[in-house]
């Protein structure tokens, strides 16, 4: 028979079992944090009506999606978890309790041409709190704290930079630059990439002699200084009050890896108040998740106003990053804690033993390849941390040698004592 060359499309990350285990561990740690914070879980379809997913989108998004028709139905694979959330909240509004606190971890799809580091399928993790009509500022502190807890759970050395859009909105209003707001914010958003000199020059083209004042505020790193820099605008003052409250609540939540940074703008639309971004302390402070407050999640689907605050993080990219940084533990690749190797005709006995070990929650497997040599081979290859060889002697004495495969040490114990040795 002619065979087809097996392959996986580029941009679709597929892991070997030992890597998959580490990825799953990472995902589980993240999910545990989300559960500890009492967030509900949603699991929306991967495939939705194009009309729904593209309610908001412009031409750029359209190119970067997997969209197709089946019969008369025009469908698209989700490219984020936010639009599906907006649909979900609008659709089930009467069955949900508000504030609606939810997370979702799932694969999302980008139809772009694959290039180095760009993924076309990846795991996205979103957490959001949605209010019905209004949403207290406590929610903003809550989502930032959850992101911080995730970094702690992953033992990632990161800090979260926090700003509030109202500060710069208010500043530009005060300076009578609101008609150039988007252009100026667009430049400030690129401050880190452009460097101060170039950024200042380009802002100056728009703001002229007001540029110094903009940068005076923009570079403030202390909350107190925001209050004393002489801006008297209402929006600005509201932003300062909100920021102050968020930092106060984060202190109550025992979150310390946060600081004010007005550089955090996060694009031009969508966010209206608090904005934040997690930055790795290594790798040039690369962004590893972020989000903010938005005025109305469900505008495209419903006339009710539903403000929200949330964050998103790409788990597949995070995994690749942490792997490069050697922050992941690939030391125990085996899914089993113990492998049982029959020596001679003891397979039945070994199966019985395995079922006893599983009863006391020890992940294990029996290696029954043809020869004993191949069984030892398998044990070494899967990297199992402990093995037990079971021959006739072990069956009759019911004393087993549990061998630590790393130290080489063997301890002789009864079946009941095995757990204490591992």
């Amino acid at each position: 028979m002619q065979t087809i060359k097996p392959r996986t499309m580029s941009g679709f990350l597929e892991l070997l079992p030992k890597e998959q285990k580490v990825f799953n561990d990472m995902k589980e740690k993240i999910e545990n944090v989300l559960k500890l914070n009492g967030l509900c879980c949603t699991d929306t379809p991967v495939l939705e009506l194009s009309e729904i997913l593209l309610a908001k989108a412009g031409g750029e998004t359209e190119k970067q999606i997997f969209r197709f028709s089946k019969g008369e139905t025009d469908m698209t694979m989700r490219f984020d978890l936010t639009v599906p959330l907006a649909k979900y909240v609008s659709l089930y509004k009467n069955d949900l309790t508000f504030p609606f606190r939810r997370y979702q971890i799932g694969k999302v799809y980008r139809g772009e041409r694959p290039q180095k580091g760009r993924l076309r399928e990846f795991y996205q993790c979103d957490a959001d709190i949605i209010g019905d009509g209004e949403l207290p500022i406590e929610a903003d502190a809550e989502v930032i704290s959850i992101l911080s807890q995730i970094y702690s759970a992953l033992k990632v050395d990161a800090e979260i930079l926090i700003s509030n859009r109202k500060i710069l909105f208010g500043l530009l209003q005060e300076l009578n630059l609101q008609d150039k707001q988007n252009e100026i914010l667009g430049l400030l958003d690129k401050f880190e990439k452009m460097g101060k000199e170039l950024c200042y020059k380009e802002v100056q083209n728009l703001a002229e002699d007001k540029t110094d004042k903009i940068f005076e505020v923009f570079e403030i790193k202390k909350l107190e200084n925001l209050k004393t820099c002489g801006i008297d605008n209402e929006t600005y003052k509201q932003g300062v009050i909100e920021l102050e409250r968020v930092f106060e609540l984060l202190k109550s939540l025992n979150i310390n890896n946060v600081r004010l940074d007005l550089n955090i703008i996060r694009g031009l639309d969508y966010y209206t108040g608090t904005v934040f971004e997690g930055r790795l302390k290594e790798f040039n402070a690369i962004s590893i998740g972020g989000g903010g407050r938005y005025e109305n999640l469900t505008g495209y689907f419903s006339s009710s106003k539903m403000p929200g605050v949330g964050f998103g993080m790409g788990l597949t990219r995070l995994f690749v990053l942490l792997k490069e940084l050697n922050k992941l533990d690939f030391q125990t690749p085996s899914y089993s804690k113990v492998a049982i190797l029959p020596l001679g005709e003891t397979v039945n006995y070994c199966f019985k033993m395995a079922s006893e070990l599983r009863k006391i929650n020890i992940p294990c497997e029996v290696l029954y390849s043809k020869s004993f040599k191949s069984r030892m081979n398998v044990a070494n290859k899967i990297g199992v941390p402990y093995i037990i060889v079971v021959g006739e002697d072990e069956v009759s004495s019911e004393i087993f040698g549990v061998k630590n495969m790393i130290t080489g040490e063997t301890k002789k114990v009864s079946l009941q004592e095995i757990k204490s040795v591992l």
Copy 2:
């Protein structure tokens, strides 16, 4: 602004948070069993090259898939987890250890017209053991035992019916009916649906006076009787030996809800030895998962022979079924174990308390809606099992009333004692 009516496509199950929690619990119990058995986890892409996924498929499958082109690439959403496994094993053969024991839980897609009970997106759970060149019969017992452990973990009253294809293959060879093998097996496969009378009559059209002998064997329910019914064919005898060994190993594994039933045929192609099917004891013994032994998983992708044995079960359908049978516990819909309700200006203190409770692994949330009345309302609506109201008195005394929302009983304890009360 004109709004778009939010909706989810039919055939795509989307759960409310309280249902999602029960679904996730079910999925977690299943995954725990798979982990306890030391199976590796694979997570292949949802989207693959059509050439790969359709390597084997005929015209019928083509209609029932979501297939589309992007640029010059012809892609398909996976419709099962078996073809992706075949690709995975062929592609990474040199990096895997054999027997390769793996599970995968993921969404699969069927492009068929939606009708009652038919899903177009659902969770599939597969477990397989793949050999390189050969695979001992122990693997057959292992996968059946895993399926049985899953039923136990879910407290589902089910039994697993087991047969071996070689029995009926050998019987028809012995009766010189091998040229009508597929037609006769096709009829026997429908025995339960057709009823004995009609099935017998239709088999008789093909097998004439040999029909009695076919049904004599076909209706045997005891292994001993298979040995004494006078069939001397090699294939048949091999089937009996394999069945005997599988039942013996299952006994060692302490699996008792299994029995011989030659009615289990499971379609005409693919399987070559052991075949089995889990049946619910209620609902007319409806099938809830099954599988068997196949000679060569990777024939379309590789010239190496890779036999395997595995099972598949549809988790979304299982969930719907168990829900209808009232087998699922919807009694604790809340994701939090405790809700903390600030009374007066104690929000900061409550946030601090919540972070302490999370440290000792208690999922909790602070209810900070505007009024105390609305906080109580939220507590009732999310169905949280315990609440703690924190006013100025509690802050100063550091003694908290933990109220059980089901019994109405309140216990006064210190922060350290809260865990013991839950």
